[in-house]
Symmetry: C2
Subunit: 553 residues, 2 copies
């Protein structure tokens, strides 16, 4: 028996129409580096998004569900593209300007982008790339920047403002299937080719509603959100869509992501909310310590992307900026968990702080489960560690395989019953709080049990003689895998492998069967370009016999 409800699809055009009428006076403020930032109302954004859609359709011949790319910072024009492109039925493809050029080229070619909307300030990045971007026919340039960089390129170059000028300020947005593609991001995987995640109108709409729930980020039209997380990074965590849905003002930093301008825009524009990855906040904290500013407007700071260090959370608390930890990934739109402490836990207590340091709870709409090394379901007991798998209407169930390809569903990324394997390993407490401890690929699978490399590393690094320690899995005939401990000793240390092993055993946290048998000393742990332990290199060095291994036990 069907219901008697109207069959109204959840479309991004509806978010646009709602925001630009009901919340028409809310604003997108873009930092310019000048005295006055640039301000544009939601009503103006709505009118200009309609103009952009007309221009893309009539002048650039965008049809159907063609991908239209953006190479842009967070600013008002990027918000216009966010709404115009999916609303007209095309697919917004945000390009990550931080990727290596060859990856960027691969992605543009894979998505078959024919049009790129680019900030003028990013032409130095785009221009040398253009000869490698086969499908690109049109580049639409917004904002300041040297256009002559595109001279001689085999594309048609358009000024954004000229292109949209005089176009009608409304558009008869089509009634699309809500499951149709609306936007896409490629994950910058460290192994293999980048993988495209394609969001639907439905997934964006539902994710926006979720973000707006009071139990989640819960902003209203009285708020202003400083959207530091880039619009090319998982749709700026869904904030442009979510804010348009409820009239939350947006403060956009454009290319001014350095600590000093961020501090200045917080002081002068007084946002009530901000969202960024920990490194941004670490930089801001250093800036504020050196040059204090009034940042008291920031009642809620969403931190995600990687785990928030406790010291950062503490320091922000002292400045009156309350951190809310969240977890997600490109494949999860991204809100997967959010760390609001449970009701009844008193503010300012150690118990509350511990809850806030977890990755948090699943919001309504996201289901999570832990899978052990043998594929078994693990209990929510705060102790059983397994790979996190998630399900929900804004969670990816496949990757994009090009305009003519089938979807990709690699078995290491999606379970047989369709859940996303996140590649993150952790525990879930009885009251539903997720604590991530490892990436699955860094976990050691020993005799059907898992050993956390991070736990061993942290224990080793708490020894006074150890400067650095990295633990990786190495093949073992009997157990499948066993841990290899790679240690950098401090100068003058007299520690031996035996004393380190005894130290680990004495800590109490490490079970006897988890203790490493294989040990090696190195001068420094190999690191990636962003300073993380490069475990791939260690594993390769071990495999090629380049490490001097001592066997214990």
């Amino acid at each position: 028996m069907l219901s008697t409800m109207q069959d109204v699809p959840l479309l991004i055009s509806r978010i646009l129409t709602h925001g630009s009428t009901i919340h028409g006076t809310s604003q997108v403020t873009t930092w310019t580096g000048e005295d006055e930032p640039h301000r544009r109302s939601f009503a103006e954004i709505g009118a200009r998004a309609a103009q952009l859609a007309h221009a893309l359709k009539d002048d650039l011949g965008v049809t159907g569900d063609e991908r239209v790319a953006t190479l842009a910072w967070n600013n008002a024009e990027h918000v216009e593209a966010y709404f115009a492109i999916p609303s007209m039925g095309a697919v917004l493809h945000t390009l990550n300007l931080r990727l290596p050029p060859e990856q960027l080229a691969w992605i543009v070619n894979h998505a078959a982008d024919r049009v790129i909307i680019a900030n003028g300030s990013l032409l130095p990045l785009l221009a040398p790339l253009l000869p490698h971007l086969k499908p690109v026919e049109h580049v639409v340039v917004t904002g300041p920047g040297d256009r002559s960089l595109l001279d001689g390129a085999d594309v048609r170059v358009h000024e954004y403002e000229d292109l949209i000028a005089g176009k009608p300020t409304s558009y008869d947005w089509p009634e699309l299937d809500e499951r149709q593609a609306a936007a896409m991001c490629y994950t910058s995987g460290t192994t293999g080719d980048p993988k495209g995640v394609v969001y639907s109108h439905r997934s964006v709409y539902l994710h926006s509603m979720q973000v707006n729930m009071a139990q989640s980020m819960g902003l209203t039209d009285e708020d202003t959100s400083l959207v530091v997380v880039p619009q090319f990074h998982v749709n700026a965590w869904g904030l442009p869509h979510a804010t348009f849905m409820t009239g939350v003002n947006m403060l956009m930093p454009d290319r001014f992501l350095q600590p000093a301008p961020l501090a200045a825009m917080i002081e002068s524009e007084r946002p009530t909310h901000a969202a960024a990855v920990p490194t941004i906040w670490q930089g801001l904290l250093a800036e504020l310590t050196a040059n204090p500013r009034d940042v008291s407007s920031l009642g809620q700071v969403t931190i995600g992307g990687s785990a928030c260090p406790p010291s950062l959370m503490e320091a922000f608390d002292k400045l009156g900026m309350r951190v809310c930890h969240a977890w997600g990934m490109t494949e999860t739109s991204p809100l997967g968990t959010i760390a609001r402490p449970p009701a009844g836990v008193a503010a300012g207590t150690e118990e509350e702080f511990a809850y806030r340091l977890t990755q948090g709870r699943f919001p309504a709409g996201v289901e999570g489960r832990l899978t052990g090394p043998g594929g078994e379901r693990l209990p929510w007991d705060g102790e059983s560690a397994g790979e996190l798998e998630v399900r929900g209407p804004w969670i990816a169930g496949a990757y994009y395989n090009g305009p003519d390809g089938e979807s990709l569903r690699p078995a290491d990324k999606f379970s047989e019953d369709g859940w996303l394997k996140t590649g993150d390993v952790g525990t879930i407490s009885a009251d539903g709080y997720l604590t991530l401890t490892d990436r699955a690929k860094d976990v050691i699978k020993s005799g059907g049990e898992w050993i956390s490399s991070v736990e061993l590393e942290n224990a080793l690094m708490s020894h006074p003689d150890v400067a650095e320690a990295a633990v990786v899995a190495v093949p073992d005939d009997k157990w499948g895998e066993r841990p290899l401990a790679t240690v950098v000793l401090k100068e003058g240390s007299t520690a031996t492998f035996e004393t380190l092993r005894a130290f680990l055993a004495g800590e109490g946290k490490i079970a006897k069967w988890q203790l490493p048998e294989r040990w090696t000393i190195v001068e420094a742990v190999p690191k990636t370009s962003v300073g993380k332990f490069d475990k791939k290199v260690l594993r390769r060095q071990y495999a090629q016999g380049e490490l001097d291994i001592t066997a214990l036990g």
Copy 2:
């Protein structure tokens, strides 16, 4: 191009599972009239809902999308039925215990309810009705009440607790189509047969998300909601579903809806939110004036169902209970508008108060438009009055026509393009605030323009000699309809129709062409059982020549 997102249907079983795990310690507290209220955790509700579903399926043979009725107050068992019945695939049919018995019987027969879950305290209502309820085979009784009232009835009688005892506490909820029927309510229309509105899993889920948005009611697991609005009245405005989605505690008054117990439960349980119609709050206000209590916990009071009198809002403000006005109807799930003042309007000002007295703005997901007497779209200018039409995924697009019937789409209820004609007349301001002034059927359609009967009545009643005044439309050869003014004069009044008409003209608010030509004096305006002007009677009296009409102008 389809997205790569998972295809996860929005189901009520997912709300149940989320609430009973992530928010398992949140509580449903039911008032008992004894010293201690009854408390049940969301985890227990989840387990018992699974038991109820097993019992309905295995013992009572409930299959497919069968309707299962409830005749119950707001209490924990009713919440269990709310989740068990739709989650298993059946359709929850809440019976309005305030309807006249013959209407109730018509509805049960029309819906073909085979099972009724009834509170023991309502058996005095149900027992005499049973012989007229042809399809009913099973009555499941919860809570205190004299079971012997059912002796001799041609149904099987079950004790709710006995029925569910020992059943498994989990249930493998089916993956349903989210557009499938989940719950139904009949509107108690004053004309014609009651009309069934059938909610889908999708509409309930989306409505719950909307209610939980910070821009809307915006409750969290730190809140407790006193759900006074009955569960048989548009799903208690969606609160049981919305609260389970975010862990909001529910305080349920059961049958104790009188002002004194309501005041007592507010003082002792300290809810932070409450929802009810104005008459409940009028009663509570009188009670609190006579017997002051500490009601300071109530930070937000949602008032809907009919317009909130300004005096009530003022009085509640003084008690520290902030009223939030909302509008909706059975056909709108019900949240259609909510009156949060726009950002930037200072609290406590006249401007803010005026915004709060409107019906409010459409939330994301609801679109509204005004249609004039000739079917034309009217502007949002705060002046053009038209019938409100709404569209959205939780708005009805038809009525239920029985188990084997097609849907009903009467042309006076649904537009050709599928919008709901609400039957309410009002204006929308440029910033999107709806102000309702009339029911469409009370508006006078004169020469392609509308005349508000309520406006004329209010103007007339502001004359010192007028005790009561009712204005209705009567047929007119030239204009289609014209207003008839029916006046009750105060004792000793010397006012004439001419002076009253001159008074209206002099008021400035009433245009000359809106002034009534037809006047009559009556001893009292006929009233309905709930004290409203009964305009049907006036129209009939006019049509049958029973009124003594004076023609002016």
